[in-house]
Each structure stands twice: as C-alpha cells, then as structure tokens.
C-alpha cells in the first residue's frame, strides 16, 4: 500500500508485557477460531465413547456373523440317519442296509455308525453317566460326512431309505441351520439399530457443540462477515476444529474397542477358554480382519460426519447472523 505516511507512529503507550508477544506469529498464523472456545475435551470424550460403542457393536455383529457361518457350515457338512430302536437283530440288519445305501450314494464321503459308547456320550448331558443303555429304546445313529467336491442328492437318499427301511429317517439339520441363520440375522439387525442410534446421538452432540461454539465465537463470526468472509470460509474454520475433534475421538474409541477384541482373542493363549468344544468365555467374539477394517472405516466415518455436521450447523447458524 503506497500512501504518504501521516506519521502516526509518534510515541503511543508501548508498554506491552513480554508474554503478550507471540513468537514467530507471522510464520505460523493463529487459528481464526480459538481452539479453547470450541468445546474440546468433553466432545472428544463423547465422540470417543460413541465410537467405542459403535465399534463394539460392529465387531460383535461381525463376530456373530462369522461364528454363525462357521457353525452353519459345520452343521451342513454332516447329515445323520436315525434307525428307530426295536429288535436288536433287525436293527443291526437295518443299520447295515442303511450303511450300504449311504455308501452307494454319490456325494457321501464317509459313513460312520455310532457305537453304543459314542451314543452314550451324546446322551450324557441329559441322562448322566453309568447307565445301561441296553434297556432303553435308544435309536442307532449313522453319521454321514458329505464330500465337499460333490453334491449329494439328499432328497433321493431320504426316499430310498424310507422305501427300503421304514424305521429309518434322514436328518439334514436344516432346522438348526435355519435357527442359526435367523439368530445371526437378528443380531445383525439389532446391531444396525444400535449403530443408527449411536450415529444419531453423535450427530446431535456435534450439532449442540457446534452451535455452542458459534454462539461463543459470535463476535469473531461478525468480524469475519464484516471483513468480507463468505459463509463457506467461516464454516471451514469451524469444520477444521471439529474434524480434529472427530478424528481424535474416533481414533480413541476405535482403538479401545480393537484392544478389547484383541484382549478377548488372546484369552486362549493365556489359558482361558482354549477348548474349542467348550468355549466357556467369549473366545468366539473375534471380529476378524473384516471386522477390524470395519472399525477403521467407522473411525473415518465418525471424523467425517463430525466435520460435515459442524459445517452444516455453522451454515444454518450463520443465516441468523448477518
């Protein structure tokens, strides 16, 4: 600006205390919206808690889905033939005939007739130990393992069995599979519902925090308006702060949730719940790589939603300040 100086620099009070001078301020310009007046730590904590809950929900849903899928495929890999109890000699003959039919059926990999001891172990949870099963009408069980490389025609096997051995029945575990499927779907639907609620709570928290921040900084907003700042510029100043808050809170919540899942996954190594047949603790609660990737995406989403929500709220609030 080339103007003739009116020499206004004459001795005004120049008694500024040293701490009031900001070092190297012209190199790194101060933030237009002061950090201290943006509801900082409390909002970071709120966002962190929301992200933690959302991550736990997401991880649990992923773990339930994966575990249910594993159980379903385990159940679907095997079918059983049941021969009703009757005359022992006749039952033995029926077992033999059923075994032969099963072995001849394409797609059946392995046929195993459960011995009395094995059947007894299956019944132990209900009847206890030390019982003589010879007096009880216990059906005989033939376990058929399906060959994964071929498709077995189970409907035809069922027809053949019931035609030739009226006391035989084929159980392909469809009802179990259906129950597992609906259980997993129910958990997922509940999880999605929880995620939506957490998202709404997060958005509302950010909306209130942004409104409070704009109200606190109303003077700054007015000055920015008067020096010709567009609403977009002002919104960007607030958005930058809330993006930081969202990222910090999101990372904190996501990392805590991941730590919880990793801690649960490491329980078997510490000697807890290592028996796969007896998963007494939540060792099955491992979201897998996909789950952790989902948590990472969730953290990014939380940061983005926080920034976007603050931007939209600032825009709306600015309409009332001109």
């Amino acid at each position: 600006m080339s103007m003739n100086s009116p020499q206004l620099a004459e001795k005004e009070a120049k008694t500024a205390p040293a701490p009031a001078r900001r070092k190297a301020s012209r190199k790194a310009q101060g933030s237009i919206v002061p950090r201290a007046t943006v509801a900082g730590r409390a909002l970071v904590a709120v966002v962190a808690i929301m992200t933690f809950l959302a991550s736990l929900t997401l991880g649990t849903v992923m773990a339930v889905r994966a575990t249910a899928e594993t159980w379903r495929s385990d159940v679907a890999r095997e079918v059983t033939i049941q021969i009703r109890a009757g005359d022992p000699a006749a039952v033995d003959a029926q077992v033999k005939a059923a075994t032969e039919i099963a072995q001849r059926t394409p797609g059946i990999g392995e046929v195993h007739v459960l011995s009395q001891d094995e059947t007894g172990r299956l019944l132990e949870p209900w009847l206890g130990t030390g019982l003589d099963f010879s007096d009880l009408p216990v059906p005989r069980i033939i376990v058929l393992r399906l060959d994964p490389s071929q498709t077995a025609d189970l409907a035809r096997l069922r027809r053949t069995l019931t035609d030739k051995i009226p006391t035989a029945s084929l159980d392909d575990h469809r009802s179990w599979s259906r129950r597992l499927g609906s259980m997993a779907e129910g958990v997922m639907a509940t999880g999605i519902g929880l995620l939506v609620l957490v998202a709404i709570a997060t958005v509302l928290s950010v909306v209130f925090a942004t409104r409070a921040a704009v109200a606190t900084n109303r003077t700054i907003v007015e000055v920015l308006h008067f020096v010709g700042a567009r609403d977009g510029f002002i919104a960007a100043q607030f958005q930058r702060h809330f993006l930081k808050i969202g990222t910090q809170g999101g990372l904190l919540g996501g990392l805590c949730a991941s730590a919880v899942f990793l801690a649960i996954a490491s329980l078997p190594r510490l000697g807890f719940g290592g028996d796969p047949e007896n998963p007494s603790i939540l060792t099955w609660l491992y979201p897998g790589l996909l789950g952790f990737a989902g948590i990472a995406v969730l953290v990014l989403l939380v940061a983005g939603v926080t920034a976007l929500t603050s931007r939209m709220t600032v825009y709306r609030t600015l309409r009332t300040i001109q």
């Binding site: 620099a9 008694t15 301020s25 310009q29």
Partner: protein
Amino acid sequence: MVGGRKTSDSLKVGALVRFENVGLRYGMGPEVLKDVTFGIEPNSFQFLTGPSGAGKTTLMRLLFLSLKPTRGLITLFGRDVSSLDPDEVAVLRRRIGIVFQDFRLLDHLTTYENVALPLRVLGKEETSYRAEVTELMHWVGLGDRMNVLPPVLSGGEKQRAAIARALIGRPEFLLADEPTGNVDPTLARRLLRLFVELNKSGTSVLLATHDIALMDQFDARRLVIADGRLYVYE
C-alpha cells in the same frame, strides 16, 4: 460549519451509495429511520452526525449490509441490496472498510494477524501480503507492535489497528463509527488527518461522530440525523 445548505436532493447517477425513501423499523416498533434519501459520491468525504439515539448506528448498519430496510431502495456500488444473496453481500463488503467504535479486534490474534484478516479471508497466501501489511502497519505507526496481542495495546493503537484492518483491502468506501470516541483530542486530530489522507488517495469516507469540534476542523459535507430523518448540508 461550511455550507449550511439543507437539501434532500443529493442523488446522482454513479453514486457509490444511494438511499431512496428508506425507512426502517425494528419488529413492530416505530420507524427509527424515515424517508431517508441521500447519495455518496466516489472520492467524497462526509460526516454523519446527530444526537445519541437518532439512528446513526442504524444507518451505519444499513450501509454495511448488516440490516435490510423495511421500505425504500438502497443501492450499493450499483446493486440493489434487497436482492443480494449472502455470498454477494460478502463480495460487496470487501469493497467497504469498516472501523468500529469498539474496534472489534480479535484478541487471540496478533495485531499483524488482525490487520491481515481481510486478505486472509480471501484465501491469499501469507507470503503474498506480508510486505503490504507490514508497510501499512508502519504507516499507521504500529510497525513495532505487529506481534502484540490486542489486549495490551493502548486505545489509540487499537484504533489504528482497526483502521489498518479496514484499509488493507483497499476499500472504495470507508465507514468509521465514532473513530475518535475513545481517544484524546490530539490523537483525534491525527486520526482525522489520516482519514483526510485516505480520501485524497481516492477512498470515499463516511465518518460518524457527534464531536462538533472535530467536524469543525475539516470542511466537509454533513449528514445530520434527527428523529429518524436525515438532513444533508453540502
């Protein structure tokens, strides 16, 4: 007072500002401005004066687009202000420099950052305007106060920082609301000289004041508000 001719016929084509029968009321209250008609020409200097509560601040707010009139027509730089969207208002404000009576400096920014604010909001790189801001700050006598935060500046220094901020964007029209209200008579005279210098360099100046002694020091047009009506003395 020079001139003393009372007139309401001061509208000319090409004026920076034109008010035609402007009226304003707050809510359902009485009109605080009634049938205000005047114009402000390029390169002109005028005082706006009147008793407290007469409507000076309201008129200033209309001039820097902080209010819209209840009735009448206001054109600023040839644009009807009633049809402006927020972005257009921002663009027009960049052509106006405003000095507030209470300075409105941002306390968390240094004096340098406050002065540079209008350029920063344009998205300019700091390196592109550093020399210009530094030169202007030396010009208004704040060369050694650039890295100081406003709370420790004296009243006169704050006033000059506010003026520098209003000038850094090279406005075509400068509005100053009681710029000498918080300073001693000596500094008031210096500030008046500063505004006169600005006017000579091509900026139209509207200086709102109730300081008769100050107005008597410079022969300029006077806009007088009384009871919501404006009287122009050329």
